[in-house]
């Protein structure tokens, strides 16, 4: 049995032929990595279908980079197995079809950006000068392509890393924090670029701390905590899976409002959060909240429904995991 993880139903073809949607680009089975007594990745079974933009999320030290390192042959698994492209081919051969950035991309500081790309293109046995020019233009480094890498800013290094990952038009992109060090404009550019990368059957595995970014670009996510897979699924499914909504309000007497609302059986949780009261209850109870507080001579000055976001979901599930 390969995996117990939930199979994804993307519902978005992006022009990808049906037969590709049934293929898994990455499969892991009981993948485990320990460093001495430290369990970095714990029995990870994961499947990532072709053509998806898949987010790998987790707090620092949750095992995201280690997992990516194992997939890329940089880290030797302690146990378990994995396959790329659902095939039995050697890992080196599989990696020819992969483009990756792991953490901050490292290049030769004494070479120019273009020479670095030429080198990494050359070691795969290819020589296509046009591709180098196109990639430099695509990541916005055309004018600095001949400058030495050591003179690049962190954002420029990250862009070169993206160009490096796109060398050879890979079928699978593994991007570990691709917007790390970028300014807001650069981050927005990359965010816009990523959906365009997942065309023609290409799959993107993305890890990022910026959950808002992930929510915008990813179809599906897996969340790791302490090396374990604690949630996996489509973003919309996960966000809606937490059930009840949250309503945030400000009143003339917040402390008293908490007491009053806590007595209502339709409010599962009421808490004071700074200058506001947060009530966990269905949206349609908004009018009941106003009426109940009014009867106690507490008047609502502001009220808004708090939409569940991936970030909120992430915080909730990782918090639950920590408490367990």
């Amino acid at each position: 049995m390969w995996t117990h993880a939930k199979q994804l139903n993307r519902g978005d073809t992006r022009g990808i032929p049906d037969q590709y949607l049934t293929e898994y680009v990455i499969k892991t089975d009981g993948l485990t990595k320990t460093y001495g007594d430290v369990l970095a990745v714990d029995d990870l079974s994961l499947t990532i279908p072709r053509g998806s933009i898949f987010g790998l999320l987790g707090p620092n030290g949750s095992g995201k980079t280690t997992t990516m390192g194992m997939l890329l042959g940089l880290v030797k698994p302690t146990s378990g197995r994995f396959s790329l492209f659902d095939s039995e081919m050697r890992q080196e051969d599989s990696l020819h079809r992969v483009g990756a950035i792991v953490e901050t991309p490292s290049f030769y500081p004494y070479l120019s950006g273009r020479s670095n790309l030429a080198y990494f293109q050359g070691i795969t046995g290819r020589n296509n000068q046009n591709e180098l020019d196109d990639l430099l233009i695509r990541v916005g480094l055309a004018e600095r392509g001949h400058s030495r890498f050591r003179t690049y800013s962190l954002g420029m290094k990250q862009r070169l890393g993206l160009a490096y990952a796109l060398l050879g038009d890979p079928e699978l992109l593994i991007l570990d924090e691709p917007t790390n060090g970028m300014d807001p404009a650069g981050m927005a550019e990359i965010r816009d670029l990523i959906p365009n990368l997942a065309t023609g059957g290409r799959t993107v595995l993305l890890s990022s701390h910026l959950l808002h970014e992930v929510e915008q670009v990813c179809d599906s996510v897996a969340i790791l905590s302490h090396g374990k897979l604690i949630a996996q699924g489509e973003v919309s499914e996960l966000v809606n899976s937490r059930g009840e909504d949250k309503i945030r309000l400000a009143t003339t007497d917040n402390a008293k409002a908490v007491n009053v609302l806590s007595a209502m059986d339709w409010a599962s949780e009421v808490s004071l959060d700074g200058d506001s009261v947060v009530v966990t209850a269905p949206n349609e109870r908004s009018s009941d909240i106003s009426a109940t507080l009014g009867r106690s001579e507490i008047y609502v000055t502001e009220m808004a429904v708090v939409e569940m976001s991936l970030e909120q979901y992430f915080l909730d599930v990782t918090e639950d995991e920590s408490e367990d």
Binding site: E92, L95, A100, T104, P105, G125
Partner: protein
């Protein structure tokens, strides 16, 4: 696999040639390689320098009364190894003349061991033996430069964190390390060729500007021997590449691997004479890398002699050196590959 390694080697060269360090090391090798040529040239044309560079400034001096006249005979080591006789020799009667010659011969044997004859200096700067001499004299320095180069080629990838970037392109670990070692080996071959070319250039210059009629373009050996010496030098230097590569993958640092390789080199220089003090330990000196490489290189210049038991002393030593060097190459490389294959690759270490 082979094509992959050759392609990787080509691209290793692409980036290595853009680094400053290999060129600095080459410049050091060339400059230092010239020193013995010009010392030999100077010594050849100047007796005082000949004595000085030979490390022998001893001279024979004796006075005796011949036919009622006090005759003083003075001979330097240089004069003695050149086979010159004192001009006063004719003043001596036949018996005393033989006695004086024997005395001079005894002095030459006992006190002029380090003094080289002029012709021996000459071989160091005339073609083709100058090439042989430059290879020979460089064997003290080249291992150091090669260890620095090999440690840098392998270790700097860890420091810069580029090993991750390279390996995620699917190059494979074995081919990558093989290509690096092959590049260093080819670089060493290139350095030897450059040294040979500079030796030829120096010889030609020395021939054109002789301060006396001596020197010139004299032929002093066989050109074919130079090719053999080139191959032997390359083989003799190979274990140092493997040694540094091993330290580099072990320590994952170019700086530490350079330090470790040089320490090993110096340690050998220290323990070899210490081992010679003890009869049992002395047998181990034949298995020390530096000693074996020295023997391997020096043996090329020694005539093969038949020993009392009918065996060939030099060939036996040569074969043992060959095997010891081969063992070092195989063992060090195997361990280096094994470690490189198994270890996790971390990010940049910031060297």
């Amino acid at each position: 696999m082979v094509i992959n390694i050759l392609n990787l080697t080509r691209w290793e060269w692409f980036k290595s040639r853009r680094r400053l360090m290999p060129w600095i090391l080459l410049a050091v090798a060339v400059i230092i390689g010239q020193i013995p040529i010009w010392i030999a040239y100077s010594a050849f044309h100047n007796d005082d320098l000949q004595a000085l560079f030979s490390g022998s400034i001893n001279s024979y001096s004796a006075s005796t009364e011949v036919n009622g006249e006090l005759v003083t005979v003075e001979m330097t080591c240089v004069e003695l190894v050149e086979g010159r006789m004192p001009p006063e020799l004719g003043k001596f009667p036949v018996d005393e003349r033989r006695e004086l010659v024997e005395d001079l011969e005894r002095f030459r044997t006992e006190s002029c061991g380090g003094t080289l004859a002029k012709e021996e200096y000459r071989t160091a700067f005339v073609l083709p033996s100058a090439i042989e001499e430059i290879f020979k004299s460089s064997m003290g320095l080249l291992p150091i430069l090669i260890m620095i180069l090999a440690a840098s080629v392998v270790g700097s990838e860890y420091g810069m964190g580029t090993l991750r970037t390279v390996l995620t392109k699917g190059t494979g670990r074995w081919p990558l390390l093989s290509s690096k070692l092959l590049l260093v080996l080819l670089t060493v071959a290139g350095v030897l060729v450059v040294l040979a070319v500079t030796a030829i250039a120096a010889s030609l210059i020395a021939a054109v500007i002789p301060p006396s009629e001596e020197g010139g373009f004299a032929d002093s050996g066989k050109w074919s021997e130079m090719v053999v010496t080139f191959g032997k030098a390359l083989y003799g230097l190979s274990p140092y590449i493997a040694l540094s590569a091993l330290f580099a993958v072990l320590t994952q640092s170019s700086a530490i691997s350079i330090a470790a390789s040089l320490s090993y080199y110096v340690l050998e220089l220290i323990i070899t004479p210490l081992f010679r003090i003890n009869e049992t330990l002395e047998k181990l000196t034949g298995f020390i890398l530096g000693g074996s490489v020295n023997n391997w290189m020096q043996a090329a210049f020694v005539e093969v002699e038949v020993n009392s038991e009918g065996g060939f002393n030099e060939q036996t030593d040569l074969f043992q050196s060959f095997l010891v060097i081969l063992a070092y190459i195989v063992v060090l490389s195997t361990v280096a590959f094994w470690i490189f294959q198994r270890r996790d690759i971390a990010g940049a270490k910031g060297e």
